[in-house]
Amino acid sequence: MLFNSFEFLIFFPLVVAFYFAIPHRFRWIFLLAASYYFYMAWKPEYVLLIMASTLIDYYAALRMGATQQKSKRKKYLILSAVANLGLLFSFKYFNFFSDAAREILASANIFYDTPALDILLPVGISFYTFQTLSYTIDVYRGTRKPERHLGIFALYVSFFPQLVAGPIERSTRLLPQFRQGKTFDIERILSGLRLMLWGFFKKLVIADRLAVYVNQVYNNPGDYSGAPVILATYFFAFQIYCDFSGYSDIAIGAARVMGYDLMENFRRPYFAKSIGEFWKRWHISLSTWFKDYLYIPLGGSRVGKWRWHYNLLIVFLLSGLWHGANWTFLIWGGLHGSYLILSHWTAGARERLCALTGLRASPRFHKFIKVFATFHLTLLAWVFFRANSVSDAFTHLNSMLSLNTNGLAEAFDKPSAAAGWIELGIASGALAALLMAHLIERRQSIGVYLAQQPRWARWAAYQALIVGILIFGVFSHAEFIYFQF
């Protein structure tokens, strides 16, 4: 079931109404059933995969909790890791590695028809496997005790607001919340609904509208050159941000309505002043997962220089691979890892350059340069993320070098050039609204800002969002980008 669907519009109010109508001790059962129903609305049989992952990790954690012997605990941790990563590998990466093996063999003149699996990628598998893996790792480390209540644990794995595209929640944060009674708090419910409204605006009005342009250009490499390709790349940066952060807002808002607090997943990432800072603001739940469960165990930065660089590359390559089984994602991840390494190497040179150019004397301009540069480095990486193949990515990069400024609005594929420009205007207006919201958020949260305004102004803002969604939203039931991960 998609958030941006008629079915969810019926499902969610019914779930909330029933949730608050039943006593607290039955709510976990109801939420679990609702979460499984939510997942089964896509493909019923795949709920067995979540159940299998749940049962294996529940059992593994209990066995780890029953012994202090590290060797025995490790056995069960390995069981959990093999089960979860095995699932992920089978459904997501098998064909990629099979194809890669075939290509490598072919390059050595060995022609072997490697096997391929004809199976659909289960929605959300990258998210829930990582979520349960974080639980078993925490139990192994002794950070938390195993959850003895199978139903509550199953709910932690399958909680519908964050099941298919995160945020990837830590068990220490989410599990205890399922035991707490939640009251019907109208202010909290309205706060959650406002966040969902903002999420739907970002998804339906900004992301899906920009997607029309981006898809037209990026799915037809070589058909466009110069300005349209550059514009499509800028658009994609905001499309993916609004798509993913919009989903997160809807998820966090939906959970908040029912009284659950999910972690912040995005914090105005394009205002980051460095790539390192970018990764503290973008997909926070995933970047902290990789930091806590891979980067730090590898030694983090508390190792020799070359080992540190190796750790960074490994983490970002795997992060890229997590996003998709394609060389483009590996390159995307590798670019970000390289940026961090280069940033370290050039730190001294950049300091000297700042001193030489007098940038230090203009802190605001200096900050602007840093934000500008960071944004454009991520933009370059997004070309690979969005391109359908590595060669397409290089075609797009090559196309950008053209001085062509024609056809800027044509990619919207409207009946007339004027209509295309109108469409461009709508997209720009929506992006302006986003920028305005982010500028406000630099000082205080939007919720606090709006609470300080008179009622008519608050209502005008909410109504503008609702009307904006109804009229300017794109309702082609486009999936959220991160659903495919």
Binding site: A418, A419, I422, I426, A464, I466, V467, I471, G473, F475
Partner: protein, 341 residues
């Protein structure tokens, strides 16, 4: 008592807030709809550009004229309903020459969802002896929005159109309907653009003669047609609606060039599913692509519509089929002889 009166006044205040919010939201929505539908660029309103609704009132495909004619038509022997294949394939002149009155209620891209609500509105008034329900298999994968836009641009707002808007489950349908409703409430008439085309000629009674001939045979890449579950349910609802009326019912897939049929890799499965559905309801179903029918490209105006010549021949074939079917022949008072054309 004090607590309950405070509770009641709080509740009243909350209800008042909800009512005022909803009312002001509706007013804002209406104002924005009106503003955007009146601001035009290159003949298209900003609302049309924003919602992707490029339907034009009174365009050459004849929906406006067709439903104006419908208002003057009383009862007819045969009602044709369906997509553009309906208005392109059933030549009312041929039926007339064979003593049969008919009306063609086909409209561009009409899907079962659209057909259902049109029949709900017009079936009783037309009271036909026979309904020929044409299904274009590719429209079973559609959402009905394109047809809805065409109907909203050319018909007066009605409860059936509103129900159709809701059935599409797309807010843009509601936007288009709201714009149309506000326009008609403010006395705005349908300023029809009299678009004409050398290739299309509208005939009174709903038939749209296609005057061109297919020249190339590049039919496109083959692909599976994924039937939308909602559309399939509407097919069943239509059959049920029609079986509940006095009319006989014939379901058809009109002939297309073989190249076009072959672009749908699961065409046979779809045809068989329709045949099976009709058989289960004891409804006569003809797929004119199951056996070679009018295969030459000279009978087609484009990749899938019969031209006027092809429509004339096909209409005669339909009449012959009706004569051979006892129930239809009896109902239409047809004698067994070859149709004149």
């Amino acid at each position: 008592m004090l607590n309950s009166s405070i509770f009641n006044s709080n509740r009243l205040a909350a209800i008042r807030k909800v009512v005022v919010f909803t009312a002001s939201l509706s007013a804002l929505y209406g104002a924005v709809i009106m503003g955007l539908s009146h601001a035009k660029v290159d003949g298209l309103s900003l609302l049309q550009i924003a919602t992707g609704n490029f339907a034009v009132t009174g365009d050459v495909r004849g929906t406006l004229q067709r439903f104006r004619d419908l208002e003057q038509v009383g009862q007819v022997d045969i009602l044709f309903v369906g997509s553009s294949h309906s208005y392109a394939s059933f030549d009312s002149r041929v039926f007339s020459e064979n003593g049969l009155t008919s009306f063609n209620m086909g409209t561009p891209s009409q899907t079962p969802l659209n057909t259902y609500y049109l029949l709900q509105r017009y079936l009783r008034g037309i009271n036909p002896k026979l309904v020929v329900y044409e299904i274009y298999h590719q429209n079973l994968a559609g959402d009905g929005l394109e047809s809805f836009y065409d109907l909203t641009a050319n018909l007066a707002p009605s409860t059936e159109l509103f129900s159709m808007a809701l059935a599409t489950r797309n807010p843009h349908a509601l936007n288009s309907f709201s714009a149309r409703l506000i326009e008609s409430l403010l006395g705005g008439g349908q300023q029809a653009l009299q678009l004409s085309s050398p290739h299309l000629t509208y005939m009174k009674g709903g038939f749209l003669a296609h005057n061109s001939q297919l020249e190339d045979t590049l039919f496109g890449e083959p692909k599976d047609i994924v039937i939308d579950e909602t559309q399939w349910e509407y097919v069943q609802d239509i059959l049920e609606l029609l079986r509940g009326s006095d009319a006989e019912l014939l379901v058809v897939i009109t002939p297309m060039p073989h190249g076009r049929v072959n672009t749908s890799t699961n065409y046979t499965e779809i045809s068989e599913a329709l045949a099976s559905l009709c058989a289960s309801e004891s409804i006569t179903f003809y797929d004119f692509n199951a056996t070679p029918t009018l295969t030459a490209t000279q009978y087609y105006a484009d990749y899938h519509h019969l031209n006027a010549r092809g429509a004339g021949l096909f209409s005669a074939m339909i009449i012959d089929s009706l004569r051979l079917n006892q129930a239809f022949a009896r109902r239409l008072s047809l004698v067994p002889e070859v149709a004149t054309r």
